[in-house]
Symmetry: C2
Subunit: 500 residues, 2 copies
C-alpha cells in the first residue's frame, strides 16, 4: 500500500492557463479557405508542373534552420510551406509518376483528412464511438471486395510491410507446436519453422522474418520461371527436403503481383500445396490484391481468396491517401492469439466510453491510432467500389498499351511479360558495349527525371538494369505513355555518342 501522500505545492506561474487553440477563430477559418483555394489549384494543375525538380538553395537553407523556440503566425508558416514544400513533393500524385508503387491518392479525401484531423479520434475500438464502427464496417467491405469470409478478422495498419509482418506473425503462431509467445523462438527443443516464397518476393518479407526472430535463413527463396512466377517443382522439392531434415514447413508467401514485374504466382496451385502439407498460405497483395475489384481482370488473381491471410495496401492501387494498409486473416485463425494482451488499464466496460465492441490492439501492434479508416470509408461511399475496379482495369490497359509501344519501337527492348500493371524495358543499340548497357540506362533514367517530364523507377532483372513503369495512377492517360516512349528514345539517341 501507498505511504501517506502529501499535499502538492502548486506552481503559481501556471495558474494563468493557456491552450493551443487559435486566438482568433475567424482568422483561422479564413486561412483554411485560403489553404483550400491553393490546394484545389495545386491538384487541378498537377499535370502542368514538372513531375520532379530539385530543391533550390533557398529551400535547402530553410531546412537547415535550428529548432524554433518561439512561435510564428499561422499564415507565415503556411507561406513557407507554400513556397518551399508544396512545389517539391514526392509527386506520386502526378499523371506521369510511375516510380516504385506510389499511389495517386484522391482529392475528395481532403474532406476526410480534415475531419480526421479535427476529430483526432484515438480509435482504439474499445471506445464506444463512431470511429470504431466505421473501421469495422470498412473491414467488412474489404472482406467482400477481396472475397474473404465475413468472419475473417482484419486490421488497418501503416502499410504493406506492417500487414505482411502481422500475417507472418500469425503463421508463426499457427505452426509452432509450443508457446512461441512465452518461450520465444526455440530451435533447441523444437524444429525450425520454414517459410517459402519466390526470389522475386519483396524485401519486407525478409525484414519480417528477421524481426520475428525466425531469421532470414528460414526464408527459402525459390527460383522463378521465365515469367517471374514461383517454380512450383522447386517449391515442392524444398518442402520435401525440409521435412526430411526435420524442419517444419510453416508458411508459403504467394506474390499477388511482384514488385519488379507484377508477376502473379499460381495461386490455386499454391493453395493445393499448402492444404496438402498443412502449411499456412499468406498472400502478399500489396497492390495486386486490388485487381480483384476489376471485373474483366479479376481472373488474374483467382485463388487469392484461398489463402489464409492477405496483406494489401489501400494507399497504392486503391488511390487512398498515405498511409493505409490492411491485413485480413481467415476466421478461426490464431490472429487474436498472436497479439492479444489486455492489461487492466485498457479494460473493457459494460457501459460508457470504454464499452466499445472490439479492441483493435488485440490484432496488431498499435494501441491508440489515427482514424484513418474514414478516408477509405468515404472514398468507397463517394466513388463506389465499381469505380475503383474500372480504374484498375484502366491502368492494366495502359500497361498493355505501353508494352505494345515498346515492342514496336526498334530502340527499345521489353524485359518482362506484362502480366498486370508494370512494364519493364530498356533502351538498346548494338553499338553500346555489353558492359556499359546498364550504366547507359541508369544514366538515361536520371536524365529523364531531370527533364521533369516522367518519373518511372528501375528494376534489376537477371542482372539487367531496366526502366520500370508501375501504373497505379488514375491521372495517367494513354498519351502520357506515347510521350514517355518518345522522350526515352530522344534521350537515348542523344546519349549514344558518349557511349559508342
Amino acid at each position: 500500500m501507498v505511504s501517506p501522500i502529501k499535499m502538492k505545492k502548486m506552481n503559481k506561474d501556471y495558474l494563468n492557463e493557456k491552450s493551443l487553440d487559435p486566438d482568433d477563430w475567424d482568422a483561422f477559418n479564413e486561412l483554411l479557405y485560403k489553404v483550400s483555394d491553393d490546394l484545389v489549384e495545386y491538384l487541378k494543375n498537377v499535370g502542368e508542373r514538372p513531375v520532379w525538380k530539385s530543391l533550390p538553395k533557398d529551400s535547402r537553407k530553410l531546412f537547415d534552420e535550428s529548432l524554433p523556440r518561439t512561435g510564428t503566425e499561422y499564415a507565415k508558416v503556411y507561406d513557407e510551406v507554400k513556397q518551399h514544400i508544396l512545389p517539391y513533393p514526392t509527386n506520386n500524385i502526378h499523371p506521369r509518376f510511375w516510380s516504385w508503387v506510389g499511389g495517386t491518392g484522391t482529392p475528395s479525401q481532403l474532406i476526410a483528412d480534415m475531419v480526421i484531423s479535427a476529430m483526432n479520434s484515438g480509435s482504439l475500438g474499445l471506445d464506444e464511438t463512431a470511429s470504431t464502427y466505421v473501421e469495422m464496417q470498412l473491414l467488412d467491405w474489404l472482406k467482400v471486395l477481396l472475397d474473404y469470409p465475413s468472419d475473417s478478422s482484419g486490421l488497418l495498419v501503416s502499410g504493406g510491410s506492417m500487414a505482411n509482418l502481422v500475417g507472418l506473425a500469425v503463421a508463426r503462431t499457427n505452426a509452432a507446436q509450443y508457446d512461441v509467445r512465452n518461450d520465444g523462438i526455440d530451435i533447441k527443443n523444437n524444429s525450425r519453422l520454414i517459410y517459402y516464397s519466390s526470389t522475386e518476393t519483396h524485401s519486407c518479407i525478409r525484414k519480417a522474418m528477421e524481426l520475428l526472430g525466425l531469421g532470414s535463413e528460414s526464408l527459402k527463396l525459390i527460383p522463378v520461371n521465365n515469367d517471374y512466377t514461383i517454380n512450383i517443382d522447386l517449391l515442392n522439392q524444398a518442402i520435401e527436403s525440409d521435412i526430411e531434415h526435420g524442419n517444419t514447413p510453416a508458411c508459403i508467401i504467394a506474390n499477388v503481383g511482384t514488385v519488379n514485374t507484377g508477376a502473379i504466382d499460381p495461386l490455386i496451385e499454391l493453395s493445393k500445396i499448402a492444404k496438402k502439407q498443412n502449411i499456412w498460405l499468406h498472400s502478399d497483395g500489396a497492390f495486386g490484391a486490388i485487381t480483384k475489384l476489376a471485373k474483366k481482370s479479376k481472373h488474374l488473381v483467382e485463388g487469392m481468396e484461398l489463402s489464409d491471410s492477405i496483406a494489401f495496401d489501400l494507399h497504392k492501387w486503391m488511390y487512398i491517401q498515405y498511409d493505409c494498409g490492411c491485413v485480413l486473416i481467415k476466421g478461426g485463425a490464431p490472429h487474436k492469439e498472436t497479439f492479444s494482451v489486455i492489461p487492466p488499464y485498457i479494460k473493457n466496460f459494460e457501459r460508457g466510453l470504454a464499452s466499445g465492441p472490439i479492441n483493435f490492439s488485440e490484432y496488431g501492434v498499435q494501441l491508440s491510432r489515427s482514424f484513418k479508416a474514414l478516408r477509405a470509408w468515404m472514398a468507397l461511399k463517394i466513388e463506389g467500389s465499381d469505380k475503383f475496379g474500372e480504374l484498375v482495369e484502366q491502368n492494366i490497359n495502359q500497361a498493355k498499351y505501353l508494352t505494345n509501344l515498346v515492342i514496336k519501337n526498334q530502340h527499345l527492348e521489353i524485359l518482362s511479360p506484362t502480366s498486370l500493371n508494370i512494364v519493364t524495358f530498356r533502351y538498346i543499340n548494338k553499338e553500346i558495349d555489353e558492359n556499359l548497357i546498364n550504366d547507359f540506362n541508369a544514366e538515361l533514367l536520371m536524365r529523364l527525371h531531370e527533364t521533369g517530364k516522367h518519373a518511372p523507377s528501375s528494376a534489376l532483372l537477371d542482372g539487367i538494369f531496366s526502366i520500370r513503369v508501375a501504373i497505379t495512377n488514375h491521372r495517367s492517360r494513354l498519351d502520357d505513355f506515347n510521350k514517355l516512349v518518345d522522350d526515352v528514345v530522344i534521350i537515348g539517341n542523344n546519349m549514344l555518342e558518349d557511349y559508342i
Copy 2:
C-alpha cells in the same frame, strides 16, 4: 532470359479514360469551405458538447449498410459524416477527456493535414524532395529537445508501441553474439537474451518481446517500490542471477512515466547499472519524455538522455494529431544494422527523383509512408517549442491541483503518488463492503461517463480499482477538476444506498 513477348490485346472499354478528380473543382472548393466552417465551429465549441454520448440507433444502422458499389455525391457523404460521425468521436480533444493517454491535438494542424493530404507524398527519404528534408529537420529538432546527440539516428513511426518495438529490436542486435537477422533467435547455440523492466511496464513491451521471438519469458518484470518505480536491488539481483545461470542480460527498459501512475524510474541509477553491466538501456517515454520540454519540471526526467534509445509519442503530450510516434537511437548504435535491406528496386541514384539523402526504410519497418512529419514541423514553427513545455508544466500543475482536491475530500482516497500528470483515486465509505468497493468504483466510473461530463479511465493498483485521470490535455482548466471531484462525490453518494 525472357521468351519473346507478344503484343497485348487492348480492352476498348477502357479507352475512354476516367480519373478520381472532381468533375467540378469549384464546387469541390466550395465544399471545402463548408467543411472548414463546420470544423472550426466543432473545435471552438468542443467543451460545450458532452465528452461522451452513446450512438443513436440511426447511426448504428448506417454502419450496418453493405458495401456501396456505386457512388454518391461528395456533399451527401459529408452530410452523413456530419450527422453520424462527427458527434460521436473518441473525444480526446475534449477539455474533460482524461482517459488512457489520449492527446488533444491542435487545431492549427488542420492546415498541415490538408497539405499532407493534397501532396500525398510517399516520403521514402530516398526521394529528393521537401518531405525528406522536413522529416530530417524535425528529427534533428527532436534530438535537441530530448538532449540526444545530433548524430543519433531516428524515425517517425505510428506510435509508442512501434517505437518501442524498434528500440527493443536494436537492443537485440546489440546483445546477440551471433547474426540474429540471418540465424533467427538461437537458444540452441547461444545464451538467452534477457530484458528487464518493472511490473508497471506497458503491455506493448511484452508484445514487442513476443513479436521479436525473444519470448515474454525473457522479459523479467521487476517488482516496484511504494511509488511504483522499479526496485533497484531486485533488478540487480535478477541481473546477477541471470549471469550466474548463463543468460545474457541484453536490455533494461526504463519507464519515463508509467501508464498507470506516471511513475518515473530512477534513470541515472539505471544508466549506471546498464553501463556497468554493458546492457542496452531503452527508455519508454511514450508521454513522459516530453517532460524534458518543461523548464521547471525537466529535472523529473533527468538521466533520460543517458539511455541508448528512447521511444516517445508526439501524438500524446506534444498534442500532435494521430498518429505520430518517434524513436531515437544513439550514434554508432546498430540501428541501421537491424533494419537495412536495400533491394535494387529502391536503389539510390546520383541524380533525379531517387537521389535523396536517406532511406528511412533502413531504420524501421515501413517503406512508403505518409508525410506526417509536416504536422509536428508546422506545430513547432507555429507554437515554438517553449510553448509545448509550458503546456506540459500546466498539466503537471493541474495534476497537483487535483491531487490536493482529492486529499482534502473526505469521500475520496488518493491511490498513488502524483509524480507527473496522472492522478489515481477512488470513492470510499466505511460502510461499503471491502469486496464490493472495486465494483462500486467501476460502476461510478461508468455513471460518470454516462453523464457526458467527464471521461477519466481506470487502473488496477495492487488489486484496487482506481479512477485514473491522465492529463495530456491543453484544453483542461483547473475548474474542470473542481467539477470532476464534485461530480464523482455526488454520484458516489447517490450510489451508496445500493451498496450498503
